[in-house]
């Protein structure tokens, strides 16, 4: 699914160069559930943006499904984001004055899916993200944090991507809601989706099959998670 080779990312601001990623290499197989862990400022989000085709690396190569995407144009990257990747942001990023349905349907607008099909797909995604259907037509800023995160997950699922990337999906949630979100990711992973999750919490990372530790832009450790926590949705 994912293969990155010697990825670096350098930011240039006011003639000051900051190298955030200093040669990162790993691969993720189809259907894997990987957690990327590291302290604040270690470059997790930067890495995630490159994996999510939101940004391009300064050097190194990124193969997604065997295709080199490290050097594509903006519009080609947009196509990849639309068709292959579902992104869940730490801060949800929902459209505040729009309904839940409208938010979830949005990626389908850019895939030119007709309206009725859009509604069906959005409802299916919301159900698999575990949002109760009496909330579907609420405005998104009238939801609780946990509900917002489910809407964000539903939005990442709606295009049926093979890869789901989540940047600190439980960062803004209490433990109980966080657990439900983690269970949702585990369920999605069981249904065949590749999941890459970012966190700085050991507890959250332990829900993955494999944990990659990064610090200061390099990989410290990359190993199988022996005592995996498994959550079941009730």
């Amino acid at each position: 699914m994912i293969e990155i080779r010697n990825i670096t990312k350098t930011y240039l601001n006011d003639d000051v160069e900051t190298q955030v990623l200093k040669g990162v290499s790993f691969s993720v197989k189809d259907g894997e559930f990987v957690a990327i862990m590291g302290p604040s400022g270690s470059g997790k989000s930067t890495l995630m943006h490159i994996l999510g085709a939101l940004d391009t690396p300064t050097s190194g190569q990124y193969f997604l499904d065997g295709k080199d995407v490290s050097d594509l144009s903006d519009d080609e990257l947009a196509d990849i984001r639309r068709s292959k990747i579902g992104f869940v942001f730490q801060s949800f990023n929902l459209l505040p004055r729009a309904t839940v349905m409208r938010n979830v349907e949005m990626p389908l607008l850019y895939s030119r899916v007709p309206k009725e099909e859009r509604e069906e797909k959005a409802k299916a995604a919301l159900i698999s993200a575990g949002l109760s259907n009496d909330r579907f037509y609420h405005l998104s800023n009238q939801l609780s944090g946990g509900q917002m995160q489910r809407v964000a997950i539903a939005r990442s699922l709606v295009n049926d991507p093979a890869l789901i990337l989540a940047d600190e999906p439980t960062g803004n949630l209490d433990t109980k809601t966080g657990d439900i979100v983690l269970a949702t990711f585990q369920k999605l992973n069981e249904s065949g989706k590749t999941v890459v999750l970012i966190t700085h919490e050991q507890y959250v990372a332990e829900h993955a099959e494999r944990i990659i530790h990064i610090r200061d832009g390099v990989i410290l450790e990359d190993k199988k998670n022996e005592n995996r926590l498994v959550k079941k949705l009730q």
Partner: protein, 405 residues
């Protein structure tokens, strides 16, 4: 994105920001509305002036006292006293090409009949005046050549004057009217023409020119001579003959020093329409400035919108929108604002011009051209002023946009 989805998104975005969209639309309404209204006033005024001039009579040549200058504009035209009745008679007898010749002395006086009195324009002239002005008689007859020769104090009234002095629908022929303490016998009333031309032809009194000179103005001067040419083609020739004759009579060898002015109707129409065109352009440029301000309002609103919705743009790009999708979305938002504003503005402008012609007695005419022009301009403004913000939005990198606070 599909076009219908794009419009739905646009309506949603505009509707989520009702106040700001409303204010932006208002700016466009005022801009477009004032363009439509001012163009309609300009158009209406120049149409009515031209038809007024045309209704004075056709193929007319006017001789007025005072030095020749370009066009209509002369200094102290009225005060010059260089034309005499003898000049008019000479033109009448020597310029055989001329169809009708009518000298005129025109001034307003207080006219009294019974208990009524009215301030009215009194025109001293000859029988040809009726032909030149196409006057028909309601009662009695027009002044005659023998009355002119005999200096008979007779008067022909306009229908409004007759109504005002003698009462509605009364035939005043044979009654008397006192003008400047001279008693005149009414010999006729003209048929109503409506208020057209520079003189209200329904509210006037016509008397023999000799009577006007003898009893009212004194002296031998006339204030103008009107000549009707038999057709359009003969106008230049007659104009030349009249000029030559009067130069000779006034003993002036250099035409540059002429103490009279010969103009024709076409010249007057050309001058007046050039004045009204200038006037219309002046009004339209003021309106155009408000349109420009409206356009800048659109750009301002769209730039604010783009800044405010930076995160939304980042999000849309993150979930797969291409630059083109974003450009189109913001461009259509801007275009929709101006088109809505444009349509309402055209209605607003048409309403203003209708109100003006109803209550301010300004003739206005909303032409298809001005509607098409302002609609085109408003759409163009939307696209031009919307393009920069739209492009700016589309060029944002998704990550930086999402990071934006």
């Amino acid at each position: 994105m599909n076009l219908s989805d794009l419009f739905e998104e646009t309506f949603f975005a505009l509707f989520s920001n009702k106040v700001r969209s409303g204010l932006t639309i208002l700016g466009i309404i005022i801009g477009i509305g004032s363009v439509v209204a001012t163009l309609s006033i300009g158009q209406g005024v120049s149409n009515s002036i031209q038809s007024n001039i045309a209704s004075i009579g056709s193929n007319l040549i006017m001789v007025t006292p005072g030095a020749q200058q370009s066009g209509l504009v002369r200094q102290s035209a009225g005060s010059a006293t260089t034309l005499t009745l003898d000049d008019a008679n000479a033109v009448q007898s020597q310029i055989t090409d001329a169809q009708y010749v009518a000298p005129q002395i025109s001034r307003s006086y207080q006219a009294v009949a019974g208990g009524n009195n009215e301030n009215v324009q009194v025109i001293g002239t000859t029988p040809d005046y009726a032909n030149i002005r196409s006057l028909n008689m309601l009662y009695g007859s027009f002044i005659t050549n023998s009355q002119v020769t005999a200096i008979d104090p007779v008067a022909v009234l306009g229908p409004t004057t007759s109504d005002n002095l003698f009462g509605q629908g009364v035939d005043p022929v044979g009654k008397t009217v006192k003008i400047n303490n001279v008693i005149f016998t009414v010999v006729g009333v003209t048929y109503p023409k409506g208020s057209s031309g520079f003189v209200n032809q329904d509210d006037m009194i016509v008397i023999p020119v000799t009577v006007a000179q003898h009893y009212l103005s004194g002296g031998n001067n006339v204030s103008s001579i009107t000549i009707q040419a038999p057709n359009q083609q003969s106008i230049p020739l007659i104009q030349q003959e009249v000029t030559d004759l009067l130069l000779q009579r006034h003993n002036i060898s250099n035409p540059q020093n002429a103490d009279f002015t010969v103009t024709n109707e076409a010249d007057i129409i050309a001058t007046v329409s050039s004045i009204t065109t200038t006037f219309t352009i002046f009004l339209a440029s003021i309106a155009g400035i408000s349109l420009l301000v409206g356009g800048i309002g659109i750009m301002n609103m769209m730039l604010t919108t783009v800044t405010e919705r930076t995160r939304e743009i980042g999000l849309r790009k993150a979930i797969g929108a291409k630059s083109r999708d974003i450009t189109m979305q913001f461009l259509i938002e801007a275009a929709l604002l101006t088109v809505i504003g444009g349509i309402l503005g055209i209605i607003f402008g048409a309403a203003i011009s209708a109100l003006l012609s109803k209550f301010a007695s300004v003739t206005t005419q909303v032409s298809a051209f001005s509607v098409a022009l302002s609609f085109g301009v408003s759409a163009a403004i939307g696209l031009i002023f919307g393009y920069y913000p739209a492009k700016k939005a589309a060029q944002l990198s998704p990550i930086e946009a999402l990071r934006y606070e």
